[in-house]
Amino acid sequence: MADGNAIEARGVHKQYGDVHAVSGVDFVVPWGQVCGYLGPNGAGKSTTLRMLAGILTPTSGTISIAGHALATSPLEARRALGFVPDSGALYGLLSAREHIALISDLYELPPTPTHERGQELLRLFEVADLEDRRVDTLSKGQRQKVALAMGLLHEPRVLLLDEPLSGLDASAARVLKDLLRGLADRGNAVLYSSHILDVVERLCDRAVILSAGRVVADAPTSELVARGADKTLESVFHSLTRAKDVEGLADAFLDRKTSRKKKKSKA
């Protein structure tokens, strides 16, 4: 196990033209933890994850993965990393079996044991029988299961997940949550980005909350929950991200629609 933390982000900043997508993000994820990464749409979560994965270069700031600085030792850092992005994690024209072979070659893993591990992961997510189907012919949920299996294939010690439950059925979601908890308990680290706050509340040891590209909270989940008005992560999230009071918005919309219809029918 490398020294230090599993993930360290120091003063990370990403700018596109005049747009500051991420502004000076600082946080660490220690080994053995599942860390929630939260924020409203457009807060900069996916941009941060893509920088942590080495796909995007930060405008400024430093990132290290498993003790390896991404800027100076990118290959060592990436070797420790598993990443499941919110979309486009797989080549549509390849099958799961072909993805396994590709990953095995890229990491120079022994072919037979890697294929066996791949099949095991596909079985875990109940898509083993789809191993030879082209990914672009799979349903959204099936694709997500294959993407998760491919993200875990090389036994990464640090996992970055962007909305991993998206499209998953209830049993696969349960399997994934148990798997992530188990991986963290065995000393690995998981950064879990999601909008499903009650899952984060139950699964994650700590949570980092992002708003408008800045970290507005970074604390153990239990501590954050205790800060909430009604002792839920949701209420803390709303207060910290200055989200407007969403209660009753849908009802108001439906009421307006109904009254417009009534006016029309009267006319």
Binding site: Y16, D18, I55, R78, L81, P85, S87, D105, L106, Y107
Partner: protein, 534 residues
């Protein structure tokens, strides 16, 4: 070596496998019998035909120096154009950003794998354009035993350099807004390239009095500035055992160096591949208020479905550099005929000139502009957002959308091009009435041909297919040739009728009626085919 070879092998195998599978999209979806031939086969046919024609036109009529220089020039242009329009994604594919960019792949391995992927296509293109000049050229009187290997090596150097230059430009600023602009620039560079080739080609075709031989013997000053000119001379000389081997070796050296620099730049682009999927925030379409059919779009279209189709085409043309670079070069030959005709004083007024050679270019401009319509329409079938086409398929009438796209191509691309040809006529003739008549005649031919083309092209909903390598250059060739033949016939008839006002009026009237009938038939056919597919 073995440490790097396995990832490299895995990547190359994967890239090629995906490219081959993308070729079979048509079979998988069964879009029509004409689409059952993979796009790359059409590209192969085109390159072979181009090379065979150039070789046949030059063999036995020019010396070996000119023969080699011209064939190598055509090869360079062919490879450069194909790379710009079709194969640049083989060098840097945006899909790699989320699938591969976080994996521990050394930059040189990725760059080598991508360059190998490009190399497969470029190698094929070079081979196809080398077979005829290398083998047939060996039978020339003024070459020696070394012609074939020397020509093949020079072709490798020229083609490799041209392809590597495109990769280098592409890797310098991946998919940024600057590259979008650059790609549109590439499309126009291609148009200029086509103009140059066309200029040479029409000289060859019109040389009843030996002007080709004269041109080859006394080439203009700019010909000697082309890099392939001294190389052609060196190949011929070295093949006879004379000097020139050093120049061929130097060309190979330049090729290797350019490929090396392009590979290194590709490696640097890999380090920040995430840029491929990122962009600065752009605000667009702020003035829309619930319908696309208001204003001028509404006035030009007959239904909201058509308005949506026209708006979609206009928006795609403005925002999708891919669409521009795939389709706009089709205008190149028509633009070339008009521009070169005016610049070289060979753009005579067909209403007053007799049967002189100088009316060939104005008439050719009409035919070539009409022949561009299949390619322009065909490329609207492809989109990088093809997955969103389910919404277009689910529309009440996809045929109305297709009709809107056809109108978009006609009114936003072909009509301005027609007006430009009319302007060229006015510049050359200083006779506004004749120029207006010429533009009107051009428009009637172009409009009719675009409707006939639309009936055959829209076998699927617009913007609904992913682009496959070779897709823009290939499958439309036969229809283009057919439309060109139809346009030639009509232009020929108009030319014959020009001296008799009554006959000319009847011909124009018949053309208007044919245009209306073709429009109805096209809409009927699109409704039948697209209604079945959606």
């Amino acid at each position: 070596m073995s440490r790097v070879s396995r990832p490299l092998r895995g990547l190359v195998r994967t890239f090629l496998l995906m490219d081959l599978r993308a070729q079979h999209y048509s079979q998988a979806t069964g879009v029509g019998a004409g689409a059952l031939i993979p796009p790359l086969y059409w590209v192969i046919g085109q390159f072979l035909t181009l090379s065979a024609l150039t070789t046949a036109a030059l063999f036995g009529r020019v010396d070996a120096d000119f023969f080699a220089a011209a064939n190598l020039g055509v090869l360079a242009l062919g490879v450069f154009s194909a790379m710009v329009v079709e194969f640049h994604e083989a060098a840097l594919d945006p899909a790699d950003a989320s699938v591969l960019a976080w994996r521990p792949i050394p930059r040189r391995i990725y760059a080598l794998a991508r360059m190998t992927n490009v190399g497969v296509y470029v190698g094929g293109m070079i081979l196809l354009q080398t077979i005829f000049p290398a083998i047939v050229g060996a039978a020339q009187r003024d070459v020696g035993m070394g012609w074939l290997p020397l020509y093949a090596l020079a072709a490798l150097a020229v083609g490799g350099t041209a392809a590597a230059l495109v990769v280098l430009l592409h890797a310098l600023r991946p998919l940024s807004r600057a590259l979008d602009d650059l790609r549109t620039g590439f499309a126009w560079v291609q148009i200029v390239g086509i103009m140059v080739v066309f200029y040479g080609g029409q000289l060859m075709l019109r040389n009843g009095t030996g002007s080709l031989e004269w041109f080859a013997a006394h080439p203009p000053a700019w010909f000697s500035l082309m890099p392939t000119t001294p190389l052609g001379g060196a190949i011929a000389s070295a093949s006879r055992g004379g000097p020139g081997l050093g120049l061929v070796a130097a060309a190979l050296g330049v090729g290797v160096l350019t490929v090396g620099v392009a590979t290194a730049q590709l490696g640097r682009a890999w380090a920040d591949l995430g840029r491929l999927g990122s962009d600065t925030a752009r605000t667009v379409g702020g003035r829309l208020a619930g319908t696309l059919g208001s204003g001028w779009i509404g006035a030009l279209t007959g239904s909201r479905g058509q308005a949506a189709g026209l708006w979609l085409f206009r928006t795609a043309l403005l925002r999708d550099s891919e669409l521009r670079s795939r389709s706009l070069p089709a205008l190149g030959t028509g633009a070339a005929a008009a521009a070169l005709g005016v610049l070289t004083d060979q753009f005579a007024d067909p209403f007053v000139a007799g049967a002189s050679a100088d009316v060939v270019l104005p008439l050719a401009a009409i035919v070539l502009l009409a022949a561009a319509s299949p390619s322009l329409l065909y490329n609207t079938l492809f989109s990088r957002d093809h997955a969103a086409a389910w919404r277009l398929r689910a529309a009440p009438s996809p045929a109305e959308l297709a009709e809107g796209v056809r109108k978009g191509v006609a009114l936003l691309v072909l009509l301005p091009a027609t007006l430009a040809v009319g302007l060229a006529a006015q510049v050359a003739w200083r006779a506004p009435l004749h120029a207006a008549g010429f533009a009107l005649g051009t428009w009637l031919v172009v409009s009719l041909c675009s409707k006939v083309a639309a009936a055959n092209v829209f076998t699927d909903v617009p913007l609904s297919r992913p682009a496959a390598r070779g897709g823009a250059l290939g499958p439309i060739a036969v229809l283009t040739a057919g439309i060109g033949a139809v346009a030639s016939t009509i232009v020929g008839l108009l030319w014959l009728a020009r001296g008799t006002p009554a006959l000319l009026g009847a011909a124009v009237g018949a053309l208007v009626i044919a245009d209306v009938i073709a429009g109805r038939m096209a809409r009927h056919r699109m409704a039948r085919i697209l209604g079945r597919r959606s």
